[in-house]
């Protein structure tokens, strides 16, 4: 009774590695996922190649999968909402993945939004640091953050309980929030200098210690980490209307009927203000390609060229429609991809 299914199973296991893969496989960042699916759909529609299979899973997981090795059992492209790390490149090198091409295809804005009927706020990074930082400056000294109301943070703000839904630490979005909002606010509010004074060691070590201390978020439930997607953040904001959520620009643009967005440093986020750099909270989006797969996986070269073409990734393309901020230097990326140029070693 058991012999036959086991034989079938054994035959299936033996036969599979010999099968040629004719579709492109992509995995990684859930921020890049919608853009990748839009391009994959258009690609499958207009080319003779099958539609690429796109998986989410997160930037870090995607890069790790990319670096698992070469061959048809591994993915071709890793989407990433933050730059690749040296540890990933080391893993790649250890597994024989030598040439990796870094493709920056645009920018993503990170916006602060609440339900439509909520009052006006005009934030600066310093406001956010004072609201969420663990230690805040008061009368020239650092004190434990005990502010409960936005009006205490900034007298210009309406009285409203402070409640923020911020991306969890596993998200690429959190890095941008940490760096462009908390750290910037920490420096602007004067907390950075006070924190550095409290550190020991030479100046570089003190600055480094202060930078880390700036990213400490108060632990009393005022800032809520959201480990899921923006849909979860939206659900939390709807359940608790005084909350202010951190979203991606494209998510906000799909939900403008429910959400209102707040300016940062007096600038409202939009594709234009992010492209010009006037809106401060944005980040580049990347994908990483295995150069060794370029000639092997059918359609991979065409897919890259199609993704980066002006009609897809350019200012009037479908990606910009969805909320991608086009890269002003797109033509350079196009030339780099055409030349199949591997990425330079990370400088640090």
């Amino acid at each position: 009774m058991t012999a036959r299914p086991i034989l079938i199973l054994a035959a299936a296991l033996a036969a599979s590695p010999a099968m040629a893969r004719d579709n492109i496989q992509i995995a990684g960042s859930s921020t890049v996922l919608p853009y990748a699916t839009i391009v994959a759909e258009l690609f499958g529609e207009n080319f003779d190649h099958p539609t690429p299979v796109v998986e989410g899973g997160g930037s870090g997981a995607g890069r790790k999968k990319l670096c698992e090795g070469l061959g048809e059992g591994t993915i071709d492209i890793a989407n990433s909402s933050s730059r690749i790390k040296q540890s990933d490149l080391d893993l790649c090198a250890a597994n024989g993945v030598s040439g990796v091409m870094e493709v920056r295809f645009g920018y993503d804005g990170i916006v602060f939004a609440a339900l439509r009927d909520q009052p006006d706020f005009a934030f600066t990074p310093a406001d956010w640091y004072l609201a969420l930082g663990a230690q805040i400056p008061r009368d020239g000294a650092l004190v434990k953050n005990d502010l409960r109301d936005w009006a205490e943070v900034n007298p210009a703000f309406p009285p409203q309980e402070i409640l923020a839904f911020i991306p969890g630490t596993k998200h690429g979005t959190r890095e941008v929030f940490d760096h462009n909002v908390l750290l910037a606010g920490c420096k602007a509010s004067g907390a950075f200098d006070l924190l550095a004074d409290a550190m020991t060691g030479d100046e570089a070590a003190r600055a480094k210690g202060a930078e880390e201390a700036c990213l400490d978020i108060r632990g009393d439930g005022v800032a809520v980490d959201i480990d899921g997607d923006y849909t979860e953040t939206l659900a939390r904001v709807q359940a608790n209307p005084v909350g202010i959520g951190v979203f991606g620009l494209s998510f906000y643009q799909s939900n403008t009927d429910r959400l209102r967005v707040y300016p940062m440093n007096g600038v409202l986020p939009s594709v234009e203000t992010i492209a010009s750099g006037a809106y401060p909270v944005s980040r580049p989006l990347f994908f990483y390609v295995k150069i060794a797969h370029l000639g092997v996986i059918p359609g991979l070269r065409e897919y890259l060229a199609f993704f980066l073409s002006d009609e897809v990734a350019g200012p009037d393309g479908p990606l910009a429609d969805y909320g991608l901020v086009p890269d002003p230097e797109l033509h350079r990326t196009q030339a780099m991809v055409a030349a199949e140029q591997p990425m330079e070693p990370l400088s640090q």
């Binding site: 579709n23 995995a27 429609d321 969805y322």
Partner: protein, 453 residues
């Protein structure tokens, strides 16, 4: 009786002062009250469960039923040979050179001409804004239709094109003029145009079989997203599970129940099987990632891997159910068979197994139903992916990428466009219908064929 009645008046304090057989005494009343309390408690537990079920079903049905209907723009379009087949030889390979952009232009002109012909005022709307009422999937659908049937070229046809999800939402009540005024993706003027088109018969909302047959779609075209690949992927996985777990499970149970000696080893195996049945399913996913993908080199996102994981997960359930139904066959059947000279094999396969079969099938179907609804182990083997191409026919199709019903629900709930929330609920309804019919089949089999001794 006599002892009791003789002893009672003297020893029991309750009977002092004239006991009645009809009026219950305090202890009887307390016992009856306890029973009534317990009944009420049980009833309220059932009611609580029912309320939860009703709330769940109401929310799923309320959100999801509308996913089975879709708004179409009935577009009268003339398929000009000069645009779509420049070579004029109706050769699909050459006609493929006209991309969806070319078809989009054709449709835009056709839409504007149709509006002008019916005297519908488009106000200040630009051609691009008028075209935005149509799904971005529509040109691709028209292109597919033409490439599938080149004889359409030169004809004028009324092509049912998907309306964009916001227009669809407007006719389903999800989008209102108020929300459109705040919405970056649709304006009230566009909705007014949609109203006028509906009055002129250019727009209608009708049943959408595509929800069950079409593949997934990207965030820009939620109206075109369907469950086709997910249903097929789930079906392939269930086939793998059935083909592998039924024979393996039954063979293992027969050996353990009928043939194996009872010793420390079989006890150990028994404990392990019971234990495996309770292991969280994500653990099987981790095992599958290591075993089937990293070591055996099976492809990612493939139904064969999903099927193998779910087989591992279902086997303990099937073995336990099979052993229970084998145990339920009375020993007298075996003794009688052995007594008239049947071998152990003959006894098992001619007598015990047929009698146990209804129970085995019920257990198998319940195991399959559990496997069908399982999503956690599939997360780890790449089944939560955007897959638009249908897998090929089996057996080759087992190795093609596919999705599955529960993970399709999961990935739709994560999408930004509100139209995907409706479709996720619609997918839950489809999943529930499958589960309900499988469970009904299991009950039916049990009722019709099960024998009791």
């Amino acid at each position: 009786m006599t002892d009791l009645s003789a002893a009672a008046p003297s020893s029991s304090p309750h009977h002092r002062g004239g006991a009645s057989l009809i009026a219950p005494d305090a202890r009887t009343q307390a016992r009856n009250a306890a029973e009534r309390r317990f009944r009420r408690f049980g009833l309220s537990a059932v009611l609580l469960g029912l309320v939860a079920l009703v709330v769940l079903l109401a929310s799923v049905l309320g959100n999801g039923v509308s996913a089975f209907r879709q708004t179409y723009v009935i577009l009268p379009v003339t398929l000009e040979a000069s645009v779509l087949d420049k070579a004029g030889n109706r050769n699909p390979d050459e006609m493929k050179k006209v991309t969806t952009l070319g078809y989009g232009k054709l449709m835009q002109e056709a839409l504007i001409a149709a509006l002008a012909e019916r005297g519908i005022d488009t106000g200040d709307l630009k051609p691009k804004e008028i075209m935005a009422l149509l799904s971005k999937e529509a040109p691709a659908d028209l292109r597919d239709a033409v490439l599938a049937d080149p004889s359409l070229i030169g004809q004028s046809i009324a092509f049912p094109a998907f309306a964009t999800s916001r227009v669809d939402g407007y006719f389903k009540g999800r989008v209102t003029m108020d929300s459109a005024a705040r919405d970056a993706n649709i304006s009230p003027a566009q909705l007014q145009l949609a109203d006028a088109m509906r009055a002129a018969g250019l727009i209608e909302t009708r049943l959408n079989p595509g929800f069950l047959t079409r593949p997934d779609a990207s965030e820009l075209r939620p109206e075109a997203a369907g469950l086709g690949v997910a249903i097929l992927g789930s079906a392939y996985m269930m086939l793998v599970v059935l083909v592998l777990s039924l024979p393996i499970g039954v063979a293992a149970s027969i050996y353990l129940e009928e043939l194996a000696p009872k010793n420390r080893w079989t006890d150990l195996i028994e404990i392990n099987i019971a234990n495996l049945a309770a292991v969280p399913s994500i653990v099987f996913g981790i095992l599958a990632l290591a075993l089937f993908i990293n070591i055996a080199g099976l492809p990612q996102s493939a139904p064969i891997v999903g099927g193998l994981v779910l087989t591992l997960m279902t086997l303990p359930t099937i073995i336990i159910a099979t052993r229970a139904s084998l145990k339920a066959v009375p020993p007298s059947i075996r003794d009688a068979a052995l007594g008239v000279g049947a071998s152990r094999m003959q006894t098992i396969f001619h007598h015990v197994l047929p009698l146990a079969m209804p129970g085995i099938l019920t257990g198998t179907i319940l195991g399959l139903a559990r496997a069908l609804g399982e999503s956690a182990p599939l997360l780890l083997i790449g089944m939560v992916a955007f897959v638009r191409d249908f897998p090929a026919a089996p057996p080759a199709g087992f190795f093609d990428p596919a999705s599955a019903l529960p993970v399709q629900v999961y990935s739709w709930t994560q999408r930004a466009d509100p139209a995907f929330a409706e479709r996720a609920s619609g997918a839950i309804i489809v999943l529930l219908v499958f589960l309900l019919s499988m469970n009904a089949l299991a009950i039916l089999l049990r009722r019709r064929f099960e024998r009791r001794w």
